[in-house]
Symmetry: C2
Subunit: 213 residues, 2 copies
């Protein structure tokens, strides 16, 4: 009779797969893509290099999945904020702040996903990711424009600008130079205000209990 995987086995396999993904993410988060060779991933996951290929057809596909997972998670959070209650401006600000804050928490991972050189396929995925982020912001933008809260503007371009703006501002502190912890909230606020003003077209009051000066 044909071989059949027991549920236990099934689970162990799924577990291995997951462990590989986690190991890969961890390596990227720690030392960037450069540190994430297959051999290293295998060691981290407690498997042999050969085994990796039993779960993923190639290194690229593995990392595309790692990136994809992270992005899906991030987008979910942002979507949640965007769909929540409040003015378009407020939701936009909260989304930017939320993203920035998380980027500060996992700097290397963020850096790798935002800016570190990688191979073609992974890079294509990164571009897709940026587009997805952009789309989330585009949603709020459109709502704000429709409601008259924001002035008329090309939402595609403007949302790309938003993504670019906080991305770049974050890579500075995130990448080589680490600004001190103290400045962190200040940077986050500057970024979100920047985006807000850009879109609103007027000095947006810091609003609720945000950190000042």
């Amino acid at each position: 009779m044909r071989y059949k995987r027991s549920p236990l086995m099934e689970e162990r396999l799924a577990d291995n797969r997951q462990r590989i993904l986690v190991a890969a993410r961890k390596l990227v988060a720690t030392g960037g893509f450069r540190a994430a060779q297959i051999a290293a991933v295998a060691a981290e996951a407690g498997l042999s290099t050969g085994s990796i290929y039993r779960y993923f057809p190639s290194k690229s596909e593995l990392f595309v999945e790692v990136l994809g997972e992270a992005v899906r998670h991030e987008v979910e959070i942002l979507r949640g904020i965007v769909k929540s209650e409040g003015s378009a401006a407020d939701r936009l600000r909260r989304a930017v702040e939320s993203f920035a804050r998380r980027a500060f928490e996992g700097p290397f991972l963020a850096y790798a996903f935002i800016a570190e050189p990688a191979d073609e396929e992974v890079d294509a995925e990164r571009i897709r990711a940026r587009r997805e982020f952009g789309n989330v912001f585009k949603t709020v933008l459109r709502e704000g424009i429709a409601s008259g809260e924001f002035p008329q503007q090309d939402a595609d371009v403007a949302s790309a600008c938003i993504v670019g703006a906080f991305t770049e501002a974050l890579v500075g502190p995130i990448g080589p130079t680490h600004r001190g912890e103290r400045r962190r909230e200040e940077v986050i606020e500057t970024i979100s205000l920047f985006c807000l003003r850009a879109v609103v077209g007027a000095a947006a009051a810091p609003a609720r209990g945000s950190v000042r000066r």
Copy 2:
């Protein structure tokens, strides 16, 4: 007696060096870093692979110089605009527009320099480049803030945001997807208005004879 290079020879050597740089730039502009192997550069420059190493110690250094040259040129132009007459807002807008317009003209080169994966050293140079661009914008920002034309804000972060904003907005149209020629001026204007509003904190009128709608 000791060997001495004739002026003619001297010139030919300098010429070769220059031709290598041009060849390298051309290849990057055409097919990105991926297409710019030493062998290809050599062929394009009409030399052998070995000869390249007579002029540059390594591939990385060659491309660092290529990038550096391009950046120096760009920064010069931007500096010129920043130092020209006019309100801070106007100079800022013109600088952004100028940069964006040139990026549209040489899309691949811009893409490669802005976003394409490359090796560590080249990438470090790219980061330096972004910082330089940022510094230019920081200058206007500071002036505008000092004069009260712009509201108080962290010029470091804000200038990074500006660079990031137009960079990202350009890589979209520049990279994989090419929006039609028609949208070009529109995109440029959206970008510069975005940056302007972000910094000024108020809807800035399109001013002079800029393209509308």
